[in-house]
Symmetry: D2
Subunit: 308 residues, 4 copies
């Protein structure tokens, strides 16, 4: 399998992990999900992310999910695997295993114990040493990790560690950070790929600032694909038209806690996964939640018809 | 001045505090801002809120700003004043002063030291005892206050403390909370007013769940006014049409930190306040930020034209 | 193996996990450590706790460490196993496994996502349902978990869930909580065991408030054993004499982050474990740190000689 | 009044603010407290600190307390005034006022919104610009401020801002930080004064690492004075003997929340202040709390007798 490098672009969908109603991993739905994501134009997949309920999987299940995804993808797009862990030993064990299985890169978020610039840089030095030549994605998601990573820290990591090939950008607010990083690469720093998260909620602006695409999991990944394509085609207005049509629903899905339940509900509704359940403990939707989602989907379809 | 009660509804705009470039309070802009807010249909105003840069005002300035607003409002709408403070003595001093000047109610957020249900209930008992018969608004904004207030805690406060007349609802996610509170009042609990924050970003859903309106500060308060009116007129679809037209910009303005700078930029651009500066220390917009705002305003105007 | 019940008392030592310099688990040291803890009078052991570097072990290592400890203990004292996990499936898998291997109970800390009283109670209902009739210890350590558990919440859990047999008490400040819980059991609530943490730093006061002992990991567990015994013998003054002699060192060891490195250094110095290393990433002691420890040990020995 | 400079050493006691039972500031007790602190050997005083309940004072009360302290001190020792504030305008207003009244320096803690190294450095640049040539103390207390300040950040502030003359060191763990800062000044960096907090709980080690003394508020400040003097006299063993005698009580007083109530209780018991009350909202001691304090005071007196 080709390894991920700094030129990655487009939409890496953060895959959900489908469960059956009894809580077991639903591997049939894994296959269908992979087909769906690739069918709408994903240029990559990311598994075992936070929105993949990775912390609720056993070590064996994690391996099995990754293998199933890799088998179904069959080399068509690169697959990134989240391997964040409190201990380097586990991180390396999982990383070595999934890279051996054919993953293209791993993704590592900083533990909440890190605070100062030096602590963060030191941590990623340790990560890179542990991972060897495996390419890794730096996950920058302060709302959840509680770790603020300054642009200068990212640049230092990029300078020191050649195996850091991508930033999963999910700071909020985070647009200025993209501009700063791109100004630095224009001035000679190594240019890594920047794919953005936050449910795609700022994707038009992120692309305008120099991002290379999205790595997030909105239940209509065709929105992100379309925005990226229109942007690449030099049509930011069309990108925004498309974005605006999906925004009301994307906004609802981006809520903490309940957002993943909405995402899985929509994916189940679209026939992508068989069951919308989160593994326990996890949020459940009320009738009112579902009615709101239905209203927004109906309006979204109408608006998509209008803009053509 | 009439005091606030449980029947309050519509849009209470969270007022910004206008400063001159040299950092002094700009009282001429305060007047213009009041005229603007009332002109677009605000049914109330809230001053010295978090988005009013209240913590950056001296005690004298706080008093002066409130007086200026009250004088300009001249009884046309109720004015709520934020009085949150680490000490009850200061809270009472400010509350007594502004109520004497003609405010309709005060607003109190919980200090970050509170964690358990009992601690929160006890705190508001202390607040109510301190404030006497002054009506107060319970501010529920966990993203900033770090205090999660359960629906049962709100209901306990409402039951115990008759002077609690309104919830400023700003939990995220928070829609289920509104449903729970309204189910409780349907079942016999005292029904207080619920006005919603979060920059208006969930206003259609919040109204659908039983909220009475908005208390927030988006730079186009006419959006919130329109959504509330259409909703009250039984036209939720029209409410959503209007909401969707403003959503791309509302989303940008709702970002933490930089959001207030965007809001003041737009208010200055609209001629409401003379200068967009935040008091130091405060965020500043870059050229890229401003360009994004301009793009969104142009698209917003176009879309508003389309929906009529 | 006998299961843990509400009558447990004395000192359950929080076991470290010994590693070799190359990072592998050192099972020979596990044996020696068990012998040491039981030799100084431990009435129980707790493995896979936070101070056992549990999050840095793989699932297989966790199982192996527990089995080795159980084999060496050979039924002489009850062994509690930490099974906290983001997902119930993993929690149950580990719990069932270790109970099958002969553990006496499991211990569960609340995830940081819990805030309100109801969320905490609901979470432990889910835990108890998942664990079946396995006795569990409620771990209350807000400094690390970020979850404040009110006494009323503990009492509700105790009332609702018969399988909750012990509180690992580690709130700070936490003395009033013990008094409240004991007053409740005096008034008829089910009385569970309360063993205290915080490195033993408040043990005399905790015993005075009604605690049944300690569950913590100070490198001189004989201090906790002695304090509990003197207290049980009605000699709180002697308990304090002993406590005071160890306090300067206990204070140093109770520092966050570096504290575990101090603990393992002392255990290695005492010949209990072969190597003081923490698994990566983990703190390391400087020469100055070690010199301070040496000074305090020398003074401690002198003082112990004086008090007899 | 002489201004504070980098040579400051000894014990700057963090003054409490005495209140009467009705909540008013007790100025008679302020006088008595100043006499007491200076009588036991304080080389400076710090007012309006976190443990001085400063956030619960009105602006007028703050000014009045500072003036009363300054009048009573009458130039005998330098007085530092806490001026931390969300806004620079207030900070400067208070700083200018108290410096005009005769204070020796001001103290500024970082707001919780700061995270990255650059944000902290930029903030203190803003502070220094605002304060002009007023000497300031950098307060480093992450447990409360939630801001972790790396040694390199402190050194950058010291290098850039000549008006930064002292570090109030209160990190936990924090001993390595002192060593790092002293190694840097040995290597040529400007050497500023380092006075340590944390209730004096690590004072012997802090002095051994190169601190210049203490800035904290334990109710027996003679302990800190004695430790510093013995240390300066080259008798660290005597310093530790004294320290150990007070440690059991210092430990109890260092608890968050309730600690200040214990401190004021002891000061009232010693006749220093008339009333032990905290201003509302504030912690209250139970009978059990007081009994524990009494036990520890009795044992402390006995032990002090033994060591001579």
């Amino acid at each position: 399998m080709t390894r991920l490098d700094e030129t990655a672009s487009g939409v890496f969908v953060i895959a959900v992990t489908p469960f059956r109603a009894d809580g077991a991993v639903d591997f049939q739905s894994v296959d269908r999900m992979v087909d769906f994501y690739l069918g709408v134009g994903a240029t990559g997949l990311t598994v075992l992310g936070m929105m993949g309920e990775a912390p609720k999987l056993t070590a064996e299940e994690s391996r099995d999910v990754v293998r199933r995804v890799l088998a179904r993808v069959d080399g068509r797009v690169p697959v990134v695997v989240g391997v964040s862990s409190p201990g380097f030993a586990q991180m390396r064990a999982l990383s070595d295993a999934v890279m051996g299985d054919g993953a293209a890169a791993v993704m590592v978020a900083p533990p909440a114990s890190l605070a100062t610039d030096a602590q963060i840089v030191t941590y990623y030095h340790g990560v890179a040493e542990e991972l060897g030549d495996t390419p890794f994605v730096l996950q920058d998601y302060p709302l959840v990790t509680k770790v603020q990573i300054a642009p200068s820290v990212i640049l230092k990591i990029v300078e020191d560690l050649p195996s850091c090939v991508m930033l999963k950008h999910e700071d909020w607010p985070g647009l200025a950070k993209i501009s700063t990083l791109r100004a630095a690469s224009d001035a000679g720093a190594r240019r890594i790929s920047i794919l953005c998260g936050n449910g795609g909620l700022f994707l038009p602006e992120e692309m305008g600032r120099g991002a290379d695409g999205a790595m997030t999991g909105f239940a209509y990944p065709e929105m992100m694909v379309g925005v990226c394509r229109h942007h690449a085609a030099g049509e930011p207005g069309r990108a925004r038209d498309l974005f605006d049509a999906y925004l009301p629903l994307a906004r609802l899905e981006q809520q903490p806690g309940i957002g993943l339940a909405i995402r899985k509900h929509i994916l189940a509704r679209r026939g992508v996964i068989a069951d919308a359940s989160l593994r326990r403990p996890g949020a459940k939707l009320s009738a009112a939640d579902i009615a709101e989602v239905e209203t927004l989907i109906a309006r979204q379809e109408k608006r998509l018809g209008e803009i053509g």
